[in-house]
């Protein structure tokens, strides 16, 4: 395009053309940045084939005990794993720990001195903080367990002992459930707790006690760390299963930093159920104050806040059941908080 004048300003058309070119360039740049920043295993494989073929390095860990209980002998060297290679030990179950903030895993196998073909494996998950340890404990807690007085929340389920000790979630897995084996596993648990001082313990009893007692299915209280009900904006929520009459549903509650935080969380959760889950608000019951009920795919969600607590009902079978259990939960919170 020839410009024949010596001192004229660009015309509107020229300015528009220049702006269009700039916009196209900016859009291309944005597309490139986005495309390059998105993780693609296929691309990673293509570019790092030889590196990807290499076996992961596993850290050599010190033995978990300087002195084992008399019943046990070391059977294998201790192993240590971090978040980046935890799945090398526990495969897809690593997700459970990663979502709760795992810092590392140490594990070691030990054989019974009196029966070397019988062995026990100790898993110590360092979860960073006691609530995180309780979270992974509660999400995996087996039903039909025997409570043990070994450490916080310790129980035995068949051949396994599980417990929470400060920021550590501990599993002791035995090859059978014969009395001698379980006795050795118990001795190992006691030895571990005695040899591992911790400065803080997971105390979740006060929050758990806020749930109604009636209808609570024993052992069903779970602390979910992240992505509660599929909502990535919701974490650190207690959920518990309840049964009453023909109803079976989940109640939930979560302590927030204050009333405004809880109110905001309730509004965000309502929006999630309506906008992201395709739900429809069907009721605003009189009690608890501010509660809403949303129908999503044939089940009913109830959400409210009171003081610093977000609370509600998840997947109630009917609107009436949602109203009934919202009221019970509201009354329980009002009486106990």
């Amino acid at each position: 395009m020839a410009i024949s004048t010596s001192s004229r300003l660009p015309s509107a058309r020229e300015s528009a053309a220049a702006a269009t070119v700039c916009l196209v360039l900016c859009a291309t740049l944005a597309w490139l940045v986005r495309a390059q920043s998105r993780f693609s295993p296929a691309v990673d494989i293509a570019f790092h084939g030889s590196k990807a073929a290499a076996e992961p390095k596993r850290a050599k860990a010190q033995d978990l005990f300087s002195t084992l209980p008399a019943e046990l002998r070391p059977m294998s060297a201790a192993e240590a794993f971090g978040p980046e290679n935890l799945s090398d030990k526990i495969d897809g179950k690593a997700e459970v720990y990663l979502s709760a903030g795992v810092a590392g895993l140490r594990c070691q196998r030990m054989a019974l001195a009196a029966a070397p073909s019988t062995w026990i494996e100790l898993f110590v998950f360092d979860m960073g903080k006691p609530p995180n340890a309780y979270s992974v404990y509660s999400s995996q807690r087996r039903s039909d367990v025997t409570d043990l007085q070994l450490a916080d929340y310790a129980y035995r389920a068949g051949n396994e002992i599980a417990l929470v000790h400060g920021p550590f979630y501990v599993e002791i897995v035995a090859t059978d459930e014969r009395p001698a084996t379980i006795e050795a596993a118990g001795a190992l648990a006691r030895a571990y707790v005695a040899a591992t001082p911790v400065s803080a313990h997971a105390d979740v009893s006060s929050d758990q006690a806020l749930f109604p007692r009636e209808g609570l299915i024993p052992g069903s209280v779970t602390l979910l760390s992240t992505d509660v009900f599929g909502f990535d904006g919701l974490g650190n929520v207690y959920v518990a299963r309840f049964r009453g009459g023909r109803d079976e549903l989940t109640l939930f509650l979560a302590r927030r930093t204050g009333a405004s935080d809880a109110t905001g969380a309730a509004a965000a959760l309502r929006t999630f159920f309506v906008d992201d889950c395709g739900g429809k608000e069907v009721a605003r019951p009189a009690r608890p104050a501010g509660a809403v009920i949303i129908e999503t795919g044939g089940t009913f969600e109830g959400v409210f806040s009171t003081g610093a607590f977000l609370a509600g009902v998840h997947q109630a079978p009917s609107r009436e059941a949602a109203e009934r259990w919202l009221q019970r939960l509201g009354e329980s919170l009002a009486a106990k908080k």
Binding site: G49, S87, D88, W119, N159, V173
Partner: protein, 335 residues
């Protein structure tokens, strides 16, 4: 640029000085762009990708005349249920011929005792070896690439001892057993290290897996079992677990699969750890259609194939059917 600045003359009014100045600027801009491009240029691109991606990692081990067949046998004794299921399928001789070299791909992912049912039960592995050898197989190799130390996994799961006693050979993966393999048209499995060494000269492939809950995939059964043929840093595939399972279903075409639901791991999979994670479901499936086998296996976990997105996607890719009833499975009981 200020709107008041005069635009230098161009065209017929341009002076030589203006022309030279502009030419210099244009040259500098071109040189800068070229320099930037040279700086960003990857001198070592995956140039052979297109060619190597066309190579298939494994041959098709399925029998052309076997179609979609399935047997579901209930009972507590794995040896009896397996034998009965294969009888219902026409006998092991229908699948294994004299002189065949057979690979049995077990799930030996963990160094865990067999009572936890996190791995293929040694009774199933050993009986498959016996049956294949009885049908005239020249060699039966049992292998997996566990995520834990292979030797410990095969020893502590009891598979090594049982397979050895039955006359089979456990192949522990060595670095030299891995070679890059690709799924033609695959998005994830492209030039990926795979456990191909044990397959040299092999004519039949049998998959044998337990029924397990899986925290990431929902369930781990016969198709997820092929994950153990992958090497390298395969945990990155967990970011697209359904995608990788579908690609494995396309990549691996076995002669038949065995799905052991004698005890099913209902919770805390795939490792489990407690007997409390298990439920006696007393069912074993043999099928030439892994998708159908897994769709049935889902029911043992209290799920349906709708709960496992990879099954419908594998069916869409032509790997089998989620409507296992359409195969008219033979049902039997040996309790």
């Amino acid at each position: 640029m200020s709107s008041d600045a005069p635009i230098p003359p161009s065209g017929p009014d341009a002076t030589r000085r203006v022309f030279l100045r502009r030419a210099l600027r244009a040259g500098a801009a071109i040189a800068a762009t070229g320099g930037l491009a040279a700086w960003l240029w990857d001198r070592h691109p995956p140039g052979s990708l297109g060619v190597r991606a066309a190579a298939t990692a494994l041959p098709d081990f399925s029998l052309p005349d076997s179609g979609g067949r399935m047997a579901i046998v209930t009972g507590t004794d794995r040896v009896r249920t397996l034998r009965r299921a294969l009888e219902a399928m026409g006998g092991i001789e229908r699948f294994i011929k004299r002189g065949d070299r057979v690979v049995v791909k077990v799930n030996a992912a963990f160094a865990a005792p067999s009572i936890l049912c996190a791995t293929t039960h040694p009774d199933v592995a050993a009986e498959l070896v016996r049956l294949c050898l009885g049908a005239g197989a020249a060699k039966v190799l049992v292998t997996d690439n566990p995520i834990n130390d292979p030797e410990s996994c095969f020893a502590l799961s009891g598979i090594a001892a049982s397979v050895g006693a039955a006359g089979g050979e456990v192949v522990l993966p060595r670095a030299s057993d891995f070679a890059d393999g690709s799924l033609p048209g695959g998005r994830l499995i492209r030039n990926w290290p795979m456990l191909l060494g044990p397959f040299r000269g092999v004519t039949k492939l049998i998959g044998a897996a337990p029924v397990k809950h899986h925290a990431r995939a929902g369930a781990s059964m016969t198709i997820k079992n092929w994950y153990g043929l992958l090497g390298g840093r395969r945990n990155q595939f967990h970011q697209d677990i359904n995608g990788i399972i579908v690609e494995l279903a396309q990549l691996v075409r076995p002669t038949f699969v065995v799905l052991d639901g004698t005890m099913s791991m209902l919770t805390n999979g795939p490792t489990g750890g407690s007997l409390a994670d298990l439920k006696p479901t007393h069912t074993l499936v043999v099928s030439t259609d892994p998708v159908a086998a897994d769709a049935f296996g889902a029911t043992l976990l209290g799920k349906s194939f709708h709960d496992l997105p990879y099954l419908a996607r594998a069916a869409q890719c032509g790997c089998g059917t989620t409507d296992f009833g359409a195969l008219r499975p033979v049902r039997a009981d040996v309790s």
